[in-house]
Symmetry: none
Subunit: 216 residues, 4 copies
């Protein structure tokens, strides 16, 4: 491996030095306290890896505010304590039981490549994702139950519907974790489902009473 590790590209080095001389310097006192006393984030946010989803910017959040897990298509698997390593479940467990976050937010988004891939796979257009060796395909299997909910819709609306249904499915899966359920039922945490439209900058939230996502 060693021969393949390279110095950081200079454009990132320069930007880091710029951050250090400005933002870091302005906030040094607070960042030191965060280091010394530990984090106390108010919310956990589960978002997609997609480079266009700029979570902290959208919510004006600085260091220390959001415990952030990001995976492809912002999915949460169902509770399954089989002893294997489950990165998402571990992050949720840590946020709820150790950090005791007050809000658990699942943030979906438009033009999601993962959701698109799942839709292609479920409609038979992506056999490569159905190969056992495809990590992406195996991961997106978590979204298959959501596809079942949208497959009767008009075809041109299915992708966006699947992006939103995926958020709902993740919220449902969150409730299968005993510690999540306990935190919510005791009033120590609330659940939130969001969908962000990249191009328009829109933000919709899931309204469980209507079953729809509504513009914030």
């Amino acid at each position: 491996m060693k021969e393949h590790v390279r110095p950081l590209p200079s454009y990132l080095v320069s930007r880091y030095h710029g951050w250090k001389a400005t933002t870091y310097t302005e906030n040094r006192a607070w960042y030191r306290r965060l280091a010394d006393e530990g984090q106390r984030p108010r919310a956990m946010i589960i978002a997609c890896c997609d480079s266009r989803v700029h979570v902290t910017s959208i919510f004006g959040a600085d260091s220390g505010e959001f415990f952030s897990h990001r995976n492809i298509a912002n999915l949460v698997p169902p509770y399954n304590p089989d002893g294997d390593h489950h990165g998402t479940s571990a992050a949720v467990e840590y946020a709820v039981t150790s950090l005791k976050v007050a809000h658990m937010i699942v943030l979906g988004h438009s033009q999601c490549g993962g959701v698109h891939g799942c839709h292609a796979m479920c409609t038979g257009h992506a056999p490569e994702l159905e190969e056992k060796t495809s990590f992406v395909g195996a991961w997106l299997n978590l979204l298959r139950p959501a596809y079942e909910e949208v497959k009767e819709l008009p075809e041109e609306t299915q992708i966006e519907a699947l992006e939103k249904q995926g958020v709902i499915t993740s919220l449902e899966n969150l409730m299968t974790f005993p510690f999540v359920k306990a935190a919510i039922e005791s009033g120590n945490m609330t659940l939130h489902g969001l969908w962000h439209e990249i191009g328009s900058g829109g933000l919709e939230q899931y309204n469980p009473e209507t079953g729809a996502f509504e513009q914030i």
Copy 2:
């Protein structure tokens, strides 16, 4: 589940509207292109969920630049295509084979709760993490091989050494993925290992020639 989903707290709603009216509006043309033409991130970054690791800020990165996967302790498991869902492996596969990122960056950090938990577990001080039902414990098992590398060091230096060794282990594990190896050997991608010190704002990178992390 439905009765447990709540409206987004109003402080986030107003901050979102502020972002929409300023940052979004200033960048609308570009964000629309990102939506229409898809993302084309230059780098993938694998960082910790910790709320104090503000990846985009440190590198002055705007929407579209970083494909970001964040999990507890910024770990990458070894290649293991067993058909189960592996969020980290899926994210790496997507970044390398679909997005063809040019840089793959693993970013560790100081005061990492996950690393601290692994150290406690490996030294027998965290039996609760060794329970089969602990997702955090199962996840941190990925870091055990790194602990083996640092356990002979002076005790007071082990935690920081483990934070850094974890980055190296993740880089090594990345090389076990055939598509990562292929991308690197063909010159299409480079690997980078970083460690960020929260309190001082420092950033060190792994130098494979000396085996040490060096201030950037």
Copy 3:
């Protein structure tokens, strides 16, 4: 001093720009009138500096509604026109004689660090607050008469009782100001005593007939 003044942290700068582009823009016409014609607040509120007491939010108050004085433990000293500077007395005088507010509200709260400190001081557990150089201790001396009223209560109830008695003492002290007394007796102003419970979101008001604080 000059070398110690720094630029505002960027997270506050971006949030300010967000406010300017949304809340300010929506309310510009009114804010301009408030600037041109002066404030005409209906009430003065005397509250604690505590960051958890979000006065405007609790009462849905917008710009121009509350003349707000905030000090440690929401205390009002007795009338003492000795020519020295007294920030609280000055604020009360200005509100009553210049602004002619219709309501004068003292708002106490639970988990008050100042009240806790006074209790510790009065029970001999905080000698550092009794040092002549402690501004906090000297300030909290204003609350000693209230301690005298609660010191015979069961120990575990004394802190909350002192938080509430402090509100009553401040109301009593307000009545020692001739201009306050005159405004009230002429029917131009009314007095109100409140206590806010941070965790439950509760709000109680002092009922002088029963001598108790009662849930609103």
Copy 4:
């Protein structure tokens, strides 16, 4: 006193119930934690009592973010540990030594009645403020040194100049407190001077290098 305390006006009662049913409910989990674990505000803000200065709104701040002291004309007196009660000095001491805030912000504003009164007093137009019994006059004496700095300016610019000079004087006075000086020199806190224009919604910050307030 008792016969003068009245029930809270119903418009405030209704708004409180509205807040309790909405904002409180959305944020209950976090507010409970703030109650149980205590506040950890990042900044102290010293602002004017003026009802048009809506500090939390301008900065998108929710409960727990700002330790807020508000007095007439946002003044800080010089260090003077004479054993008397000094509300501002006590608030500063508590913020710096107990809460260890990272930022100390003095926020002045346009159309400040206190500054206007001081200017009138200093130019001989407000004899009533020079009476020994005037708390407002005695308080505004703290601003006299600032008047000395602006009295040679063209008359029509003196008021705004005095509003800004008052912020600088308060920053200077803050540096006379040994614990403030120590916190700043050790890098644990930074000072910030702001001036807010009510009508235009503008925000300027003091730049010690130019000596001027500059639009943010």
